[in-house]
Symmetry: C2
């Protein structure tokens, strides 16, 4: 079923408001969820809403989000996320990093005690839109073993970078430090599909194509010791240093087994410290043209910039609507009913 | 031939001094080269010395290094490396980042117009030894194609992170954004060995086991679009933003085909902003014990921390000496002769 993004936003906001979330915060959370759907990352999309309500019902998430600034001096900010929305905390962290970048050349925020932030690229793109280079990362529930190990220990611990790209969309990288993100396996499980070998090991440490076995085992780190090292340092900074949970203590957002304890870091680098933003735009425009014009591999007729596939999908999906999987449609409609709202996703269907 | 690290240091310093490099700078460069040898990364070791002299002879490198500070305000520094030693520039950048981290919570330096920095982990470990978390990266000569492309465009663009680890050695990640670093292929070429499939493509875009064909083709990015994205952003920050060379304009250090135009970034994050260093040490010690104690994969009897294999090799090599390949021994001895020095590497051989 293809739903208009405006309707998905409306549904998300109305749902969140039934939980006492104010319009401003509900709007931000809805925007990150719908941006994820538009950019083809449904694992960070509206399927997070039922989990939010399960957490709230279990008394394991505090809404509306009450952030507490632990310290904010010179270029660094330390925030306690109050076990609220990760989206609210990450956006606040990046906003402060951007402001600090303008004053100090670089800004850095560490956030402890928050939850799933959804689409990490949302926050790095905030920085890019503000004329800075954005970097962010977060830890997550244990799903990857240390290299040489067989026990889930680190999350997929993703990170994202974004920079403004002159006349075009920002360039954006948003990647997990595992071969694939856990959400892709969860989605295969939901759709009853197999996963390729090389994504995960089962609980006994053997390669598996079965998403259920994979969810009970471990995800393979990207590039063996390299992905392990990246996940280790992201956990160290976002989790241990921030005073949040880390390694096996971080809990999944998808079952209400206690506060997740997610930690987040955001960095913004002021471009104009190093060259006028206009020069940067000109150089990067030309750079992008050169990349596009470089020799293609056999069978390829186009070279994409980082984040370009997602940006094109976003444009396309704004028009044709977001394709929502049947199980997610059912989950959201069930939630709407439970929250006493009469709207249903089909009311927002795009008519072709 | 196993050579004592002290002798390798002495040889490096004496050689560099014949080119007019002062004792302090020669000592720093020698220390990075020998640290690379000790840690099992000979591609960033003394085999760089003949290339240094070829560059100086060709008038394509300025020694002693004259750094120029373009700007140094609040938390950010911008340095011109004066086409001198990358080691000197990167160490200065990280030193300033560390000092700024103490004052501002985070410090950031961008360096343009420098050369090969050797072992990147050297600079991140500087930060770790100073009680900060160090991050550094640099660009390099084109060897990786954009994902979907077949033309060398980005360097292996490595990055490194390090953090102090309580009672033990710092934890350190130092990785290229390609499946392997170019030096590994160059070394296979020198030793007339084959390389595994999956490391590189030949000039026509086909997988190859031949290091010579690989050097004429492209290196595979780590994790396909992920390595491409990481290399893209490292090039963007270290090269384009710093005002240095980027993409195809960066030249290899190994042939004197013009200034390399390498750019470097260094970041230091002050741990004590977020928790007392003593707490951090205690937590990370315990964290490391937990990782070591976690379930091993089949056939594994030990889990290593990031950088631990290199640190153990360093301890071992300090005692048993550094095994130097025959072609490198010859190259260094030839250089010693050419520079009018009577010392030879065998004079530093470890007697067993």
């Amino acid at each position: 079923m293809n739903i208009t993004p405006d309707y998905l936003t409306k549904v998300s906001i109305e749902l969140l408001q039934t939980a006492g979330v104010g319009l401003k915060e509900a709007g931000l959370v809805a925007e990150t969820l719908v941006t994820a759907e538009l950019r083809g990352v449904p694992t960070h999309g509206i399927n997070l809403l039922p989990a939010v309500f399960d957490r709230i019902a279990a008394g394991q998430m505090e809404v509306p989000t009450k952030l507490k600034v632990i310290s904010d001096e010179q270029a660094a900010t330390h925030i306690d996320g109050g076990n609220g929305f990760g989206q609210t905390a990450a956006a606040e962290g990046m906003q402060r990093s951007i402001e600090k970048a303008r004053s100090f050349g670089i800004g850095f925020s560490l956030i402890r005690n928050t939850n799933n932030v959804g689409l990490l690229a949302y926050y790095s793109m905030m920085a890019a839109k503000a004329g800075t280079i954005g970097i962010c990362a977060c830890n997550g529930a244990a799903s990857m073993a240390p290299w040489g190990g067989a026990e889930p220990f680190f999350g997929t611990n993703p990170f994202s970078l974004a920079a403004p790209a002159g006349s075009g969309n920002p360039v954006v990288l948003d990647m997990s430090t595992t071969v694939v993100a856990r959400g892709k396996i969860r989605r295969a499980e939901r759709l009853k599909e197999q996963i390729p070998l090389g994504w995960a090991l089962d609980a006994g440490g053997a390669p598996t194509k079965d998403p259920i076995a994979a969810m009970q085992g471990t995800l393979m780190p990207l590039g063996e010791y390299k992905g392990y090292g990246m996940a280790f340092f992201i956990d160290l900074i976002c989790g241990l240093l921030s005073g949040s949970s880390y390694s096996r203590a971080v809990r999944t957002f998808h079952q209400p087994e206690g506060p997740t304890g997610v930690g987040v870091m955001t960095i913004a680098i002021d471009i104009s410290r190093f060259m006028p933003l206009g020069n940067f735009s000109k150089l990067i425009d030309e750079h992008i043209r050169t990349i596009r014009g470089s020799v293609k591999a056999k069978g390829q007729n186009r070279i994409y910039l980082p984040g370009e596939i997602e940006a094109e999908l976003e444009s396309l999906n704004i028009t044709r609507g977001v394709a929502v999987d049947a199980p997610v449609v059912k989950a959201i409609d069930d939630l709407l009913e439970k929250r006493g709202l009469s709207m249903r996703l089909k009311d927002g269907e795009v008519r072709v």
